[in-house]
């Protein structure tokens, strides 16, 4: 029920005073209400739940997690591994 899907904001327009975005999810484009993420701009990724963006994805936080994933995924597979990095 609390499923949220990240999508990319393509464009934003006002509809009855409410900001609405065209948002792309892996090739599929849908209309999403941006009333709760007024800071969202075209090019941003938003997390969408039942047709509403509830958060703008923080790209620098996401990049940090991805760096962590790359590092840990390439770490020595013999467990337990003392060199496993602590999550940031």
């Amino acid at each position: 029920m609390c499923l949220g899907i990240p999508g990319k904001v393509l464009e934003i327009k006002l509809q009855n005073d409410v900001p609405m975005g065209r948002v792309e999810f892996g090739g599929i484009v849908k209309d999403v209400c941006l009333a709760y993420t007024p800071e969202a701009a075209a090019g941003d990724y938003v997390l969408v739940h039942v047709g509403f963006a509830i958060s703008v994805i923080d790209q620098s936080e996401a990049a940090e997690t991805l760096a962590f994933i790359r590092e840990i995924a390439q770490s020595d597979p013999v467990s337990p591994n003392p060199r496993i990095p602590e999550p940031p």
Binding site: C2, Y36, G51, I54
Partner: protein, 364 residues
Amino acid sequence: MKYLDEYRDADATRRLADAIRAIVTRAWNIMEICGGQTHTIVRYGLDRMLPEGITLIHGPGCPVCVTPIEIIDRAVAVAGRPEVIFCSFGDMLRVPGSRKDLFTVKSEGGDVRLVYSPMDAVTLARDNPARQVVFFAVGFETTAPANAMTAHQAASLGLENFSLLVSHVLVPPAMRAVLDSPANRVQGFLAAGHVCAITGMDQYRPIAEKYRVPIVVTGFEPVDILRGVLKCVQQLEQGRNEVENEYARVVRPEGNLVALKQIDEVFEVVPRKWRGIGEIPASGLALREKYAAFDAERRFPVADITADESTVCIAGEILQGHKQPLDCPAFGTLCTPDHPLGAPMVSTEGACAAYFRYRGRGER
């Protein structure tokens, strides 16, 4: 898909399980609150990758599962009325009421429609002025802003044929109920990331302090969940009980202030009954008096409908973490997704349905 697939990396997931194994010195029970997280855990077998002694207990975080049976009966009564178009999220259609479910109402000719977004129900009301459009507003804090927006929009459009059947629930009071139970086994929590995207983290600090439990805000993909478990185990092993944010790409500590303001404009906090658990004080949302004109329970004569739950189903104990789905004698025999006795077998996020789908009938 970007921001999704990367967090399913199988090597990273395995290494994270190793990292947890490397620091564990004793057994710990950790509850994931959200049904979406339960689904990921069972689907990817994350619980089986963890070292022995680390038990993931499935929590009450499935709104479909905790909606009281009498609310389902009221929904069935409203949806059966000839003037009504009844709009619902798909998951709610097969939840058994005491006599039937919404799907049966639909097959008997009731106008029951699935909506993707609650705003679709407002559009239906605007386009069908001669009909009564009722939206089944269920969910946690994640869904509350969307549902609040329907009342706000209906009011500004002056719609007189739109109403909400509200059964909203809140996460922190349910965590307190779990921890207050004499049978409680939970020592740490993975908090539901999308709920926290709305509410922020402040409500969780008093819980972490009072009950001395670590609470780690966690996302929904395998890497997110195991990182949440790692952080939680680190805290448990070090005797800490802090609220940590493991899902910072989505969750801000203060939450979504615009959404919180809209929730507060439309809804107020009320006591609510949880299916299988009973009434929990200050655990739900209801329409404020200002929006009473949009309350389906006032518009239609259904408020007196009450009902008792099935005696076979142990969903209440499962939702509170006292038992697991395979402890239920009806699991996979009397109760299956095609013939569910209880809501956790219906919803894709229900613990019983997740076990049935990914674990077959008897496998632990």
